[in-house]
Amino acid sequence: MSVTTSAAPDRNRRSRRREALRGWSYAAPTALFVLFVFVVPLGLVLQMSGSDWPLLGGNQGWNFPENFADAASHRLFWDSIWFTLKYTVITTVLLLGLGLGLALLVQESTRWKSVLRTAFLVPSALGLASASLLFYVLYSPYAGPFADLMQAWGFTFLGTPDGALWSTVFLIVWRFAGFYMLLMLVGLQGIPDDVYEAARIDGASRWQTFRDITLPLLRPTFALTTVLCVTGSLLAFEQFYILTKGGPDNSTMTIVQLIYNVAFQGQNDLGVAGALSVIVLLALIVINVVQLRVLRRGEES
């Protein structure tokens, strides 16, 4: 007995060390990826944002806070922020509303409703770039299904600032409505049956049940879908790059498109692009924290 008590902690420590070693050897590829493809680039973008760094020529030394001043005084800085926010509000309201609406329409699992669900979901299997290219042709005044109409009536989808915005919004709604429907369906499924049962016994009307039970109990789902949708829309790029390139007259310039232009189109300034990236990163963190706070607060009360 006395022999084992002295040996046991030692053996224990050794086996724990062996477990840690095994764990690390299996986690090593993950750690390598996270370190070299995520942590190091994140550090580098911070360094970039404080350095004079042209696209060709590499780091020319610190110049903090010059890049941030340049970024904030870029003639499209505030315009692109304003446009991105507007676009985010529109898409978030539409996608969450439509997602819930579609989910309620096809909620029960009958054969026909399953077919409808699949139909609504198919566009979300497409890549965003493919979907944008598809709508680029649909909206074209030469080849699209509305080409004759457009020529007869003399209008274009993408030619005016408002047209370009709403045409892009339509594409995004088409591509993502099914996806948000799916998330809403999962949320609806999470509401226990007996709550509805109780409401039915109490004689609640359909509308009362929806307003007083379904909506409040969907709060966690709304928290998640709002964060997803807001983040996605604030970082919109591909749809505008393909459909409008930020035009007409820079009216659909999103903040990510601006970063891309500053880094790789014309200006070729990685330093200023880095500063813009850091600003977006910080804004996104703040927005997400605020959103989760606001959306979670009601949950507890």
Binding site: Y26, A27, V40, L44, L105, V256, L270
Partner: protein, 297 residues
Amino acid sequence: MALQTQSATELIRVDEPRPRVGRSPAMRLVLGLPYWLFTTALAIIFLYPLIWTAVASVQGRAGTSQPEGWGFGNYVALANYQAGVWVYLGNSLFVSLLTVLLTLAVSTLGGYAFARFRFPGKNVLFLTTLAILMVPYATLLIPLYVILGAVGLSNSLVGVAIVLTMFQLPFSMFMMRISFESIPRELDEAAMVDGCSTWSALWRVLLPAVKPGLVTVGLFAFLAAWNDFFAPLILITDTNRMTLPLAVANLRVQVQGVIDYGATEAGVVVLALPCIVLFLVLQRHYVRGFMSGAFKG
């Protein structure tokens, strides 16, 4: 667990409405008519762009490379575009399959480590992996452009696959961790009592058990890599190494700004078809991915 062929939609089962007493089937049909008309119209709106594009791609019109009438002129134009569609298809397949392979390898090993071992720094590593979700794509692509250039991977499809794998890690790692955690420990402990090492226990006993998770992770990695546009746009400059989405998008800036809409349609069909087929075949895994990935976190 065998791969079941249950459809996505059956997974989401909400309680059936109780049958309304006293209404004949005919009466119910009439009362339901506005519903059927409305939802059918909606479904048509969702499917119309896809169907129109598929039909238009084999039909000639103004602004296409196909003379009026049925035929494959648009596909021929696409096939002959610059380096040729086969090169771009090959590039896209290479990037997608390499991304799937890397994602599966890294997230299987990592998920196993996170689910079964205690080691210092485990939580920090897991949370850092999840933090990838928080960081905008553009924010990382610009420094990655510099870093990949510095290590000789600029303009390289392997570099693109490495970047895409990193972006798949939060979802994949999460998915594999819960897949391994849902398997009772007794299973691999028994194997190890029988003389298996942790490696062979993983390989022989656990891997077959986490197959559904592997399929989901692989499906998402494939779709993400096949469809990705931003990473190759920034990291690839050589025309011969472009992936298909990039090549189809570039059809628009052809000679003197003349756009071949027909070839673009053909390109969209080639891009979309594998995604739609995969989605329809693996609907169940697609849905499960959202349910576990998005909601248990």
